[in-house]
Amino acid sequence: MTEEKIHIDQKLFEILETVSDPEIPVLSIVEMGVVRSAKLINGIVEVEITPTYSGCPAMDVIGDDIKEAFQQKGYEAKVDLILSPAWTTDWITSKGRIALEKYGIASPLSESADKEALLGNKKLVKCPQCGSLNTKLVSQFGSTACKAFFQCEDCLEPFDYFKCLK
């Protein structure tokens, strides 16, 4: 997928950075790639967000949190949910990927590596606790739809892997 352009006014960016995904509190929605645009139009902030997964229950909460964050800074905000182009894990920023790993969630591999890992063909997912590649898939679906469940065979810690979505 080609790099998608996002348009976020600089002064709005800092406010949006304070809003996080309620299920992954260390990651701001900007780092998550969920915010597609934010513009100040006639005194009203218009934000477009896109869901990670169709059924992601966090989206309604994110919408409310955005409105509240802007309200605290004296702005009225309107949030629209857009579906196209569809979100991809490529939109998670490099800062976001580091935050995920620190939080204990292995970040998404490339599309082909992801397939190999989820089919259990190759050991490619790195344990976020000890860095070992000696890990095994426990379940293709983890605590949320966007994650798979793995276990490290060296430190024995179970962990979530953020699945590649393209």
Binding site: P51, Y53, S54, G55, C56, P57, L83, S84, P85, A86, W87, T88, L118, L119, V138, S139, Q140, F141, G142, S143, T144, A145, F149, K163, L165, K166
Partner: protein
């Protein structure tokens, strides 16, 4: 208001709604924690997709309609899902076979729907297809594992396939709404998906050491709103809150 378009969307979205509801019944009842979580995650994806379709329907309907009125306030005959998705969770073999037989179709449908002239339907299809790829991988994997597993698992999955096979042909029946939407470049001609569907399903069954049933009698009716005896029970549970406490909100 474009009634054909609305009926067409029901024909797609109601499959996701009813299958999502069926899978939701398994929450806390899956055979293992991993499959329990997987099936409910698939349910969540399907219900999420349904929300996108129904928000669109509500916009087309206007008059204060919203995704909830579309989901909860129709009568049984107004739901246009195929009979396959309403079949019960008899055991895990049935649940995963129902999933597999639907996923292969769902993926093929979305691949075509993403080319629709209707921008909203194309966008929903593009979004959903990424999720349905995971569903298809999961259910196909289980078919192979159980088919090529023990004698017991093999026999039970074969029984489920034999029983559910009669609901597969309906997936490829064309409705009046289909015809109208195909003419406008919006709808998918499902009749064209049939050959590849059976090819793909058969090849996975073969890999799973399972027999592809050869029967000539198929069940139909769901697409016209004529459902099996299971549908009333599903709707009773699905609509309970809105029927008992009309207009209640969270």
């Amino acid at each position: 208001m474009n009634n054909n378009l609305i009926q067409y969307i029901y024909g797609i979205a109601d499959n996701s709604l009813i299958l999502g509801q069926r899978l939701g019944e398994l929450c806390g009842h899956g055979p293992s924690i991993e499959t329990d979580i997987a099936l409910t995650n698939i349910s969540l994806d399907l219900l999420g997709q349904t929300r996108s379709y129904f928000q669109y329907v509500a916009k087309l309907q206007g008059n204060g309609a919203n995704e909830d009125t579309v989901a909860f306030l129709r009568l049984e005959r107004e739901y246009k899902n195929v009979l396959l998705v309403e079949q019960p969770n008899t055991d895990f073999g049935y649940s995963i076979t129902r999933q597999f037989l639907f996923d292969v179709f769902h993926l093929a449908l979305l691949e075509e729907l993403q080319k629709s002239k209707d921008e909203m339907l194309a966008a929903i299809a593009k979004k959903s297809i990424k999720e349905v790829l995971y569903h298809t991988r999961f259910s196909s994997d289980w078919i192979k594992r159980l088919g090529d597993g023990t004698e017991e698992s093999h026999n039970r999955i074969q029984t489920a396939i034999n029983d559910l096979w009669i609901f597969t042909d309906e997936l490829f029946h064309q409705t009046d709404a289909d015809k109208a939407m195909i003419a406008e470049g919006i709808g998918v001609d499902v009749t064209l998906l049939k050959i590849n569907y059976y090819k793909k399903v058969s090849s996975i069954l073969e890999e799973a050491t399972l027999q592809t049933p050869s029967i000539e009698y198929f069940q139909k009716g769901g697409k016209q709103g004529v459902h099996s005896e299971h549908m009333g029970f599903i709707l009773t549970e699905l609509q309970y809150m809105q029927r008992t406490y009309p207009n209640m909100t969270w």
